[in-house]
Symmetry: C2
Subunit: 280 residues, 2 copies
């Protein structure tokens, strides 16, 4: 089966590196950076490249799988430019962590029967093809979303793809996906940035001497690409705004409990610790 | 020199294990749990134990160093019970991460000349003597605070103690200590608990499938002892309340920036990332 990866970054590059060691896949890539393509050809993670996305309309790409693995804002534009593939034999999927804006595009096109949302819950604070690795998705979750109108052969192909990559697959409604991720993934990143903004405002030297080891790990959430997170936050703005309000409420609850007696505070912290141990 | 460790937990136990391999120290301990004392004697991290803190008034303990290494709330009570040692030749220090309530006790006693605040910025989400290790303080910061009235021989002894333990020593005013730690250490823990409270409120199963790897590291801040953190939060309540308000302001700023254009959001996130890279 032909796999066409659009965007050879951390995710696209890692897909290529993993699949290149599996049987039965011919891996081709499209990337605006020709050095990236050259490197991937040299390390044999891809077998060829496309010069133009328009080529995907050619007969040789029938029944192939197209993976759009670009940053979220670029994904929208690329998907629109691939409208000539909608409802064809080609399967199209993405890798983004917000689904809302793509969903609007799909709606404009009356929900094409061959588009499946993919969200591999894997990554790194590093980015780019040079940081891609073969086992990035192994044992990690990948969330699939698709409309009722989608044809089962396309679902099967995308399911097979992520299974080959070693992912544990969960199917989730696209709207629910964005609501859940606003809390489970986007909000912790917002919290890390907000904490950094608070610490920055102190203008105190040598702050790291005054914090334990855990803080560095927490703040590592803010080490990822600002471009990617600006994209994600903006595209899931409404859900994240609600999540931020909820976090503020929880901060208010804690502030009040800290003001009251240490005994009930200890019980409260113990319950949260128990929740953490059974869920993370 | 005689070192008397009151409370053989993670901190006290780690002090004992490190010093027992150094020359010139005789290490004695007091702990309400006789099993802990028995273990420490067996693994030779201490050379003996005290049956009552009143014994510290005996001539044999002159010029020794007493380290109170109990949880913050117990530290207050123990310090008060040691009032017969105030202004003696014995040096007294603590290991707690909030200084406010001890400072009030010192004030009652007109600032004894032989008490030095110690705050080793080292620890673990694990607790207890069984988790103590010999190299816990090596390369870590320890903050000392003391009043102008303190005699230099006591400062020298405590400085020598933490140097032997491998710590980098910083001297800080006790009030400033509590203000800085409210932000640099206590606030991140509050944020982790608040985030847990928000996620708990969702009542969504399998939440960990929907978050990246960074979240687990962040939430590990909430894995520490609820008793210890209830103590710390309560004892530094006023400073933490101000820090929580500041964090809420930062969350509000982020919410607003997310609502506006992605470009200025990206610039903002980039600045915070830069601050992180140069400070943590």
């Amino acid at each position: 089966m032909k796999i066409i990866i659009i965007g050879l970054g951390l995710i696209g590059g890692s897909i290529a590196k993993t699949l290149s060691s599996a049987q039965d896949f011919e891996i081709l890539a499209f990337d605006s950076d020709q050095n990236t393509i050259k490197n991937a050809l040299e390390n044999q993670s891809i077998q060829g490249s496309l010069h133009s996305l328009d080529d995907l309309g050619n007969a040789e790409y029938e029944d192939s799988v197209v993976i759009i693995a670009t940053p979220p804002s670029a994904t929208d534009e690329i998907l629109k430019s691939l409208d000539f593939l909608f409802n064809s034999s080609v399967t199209i999927t993405d890798t983004t962590s917000t689904k809302n804006s793509i969903n609007k595009i799909l709606q404009e096109f009356n929900f094409p029967k061959n588009f499946i949302f993919s969200h591999p819950v894997a990554g790194s604070h590093l980015s780019g093809e040079k940081n891609s690795v073969a086992d990035l998705f192994n044992g990690k979750s990948t969330i699939l979303s698709y409309h009722d109108s989608v044809a089962s052969q396309h679902v099967d192909r995308v399911t097979n793809l992520w299974s080959t990559l070693g992912s544990n697959i969960t199917v989730l409604d696209a709207e629910l996906h964005d609501q859940i991720f606003a809390y489970s993934s986007h909000l912790p990143h917002v919290a890390a940035y907000a904490l950094l903004n608070t610490l920055k405002g102190l203008e105190q030297d040598d702050l790291s001497d005054f914090s334990g080891g855990g803080l560095g790990e927490f703040l590592r959430l803010a080490s990822s690409s600002p471009r990617m997170w600006a994209d994600i936050f903006s595209m899931n703005e409404k859900n994240i705004a609600i999540a931020i309000d909820d976090l503020m409420k929880s901060l208010g609850i804690l502030k009040e409990k800290i003001r009251k007696d240490p005994q009930s505070l200890q019980t409260f912290l113990g319950e949260l610790k128990d929740f953490k141990e059974s869920n993370y």
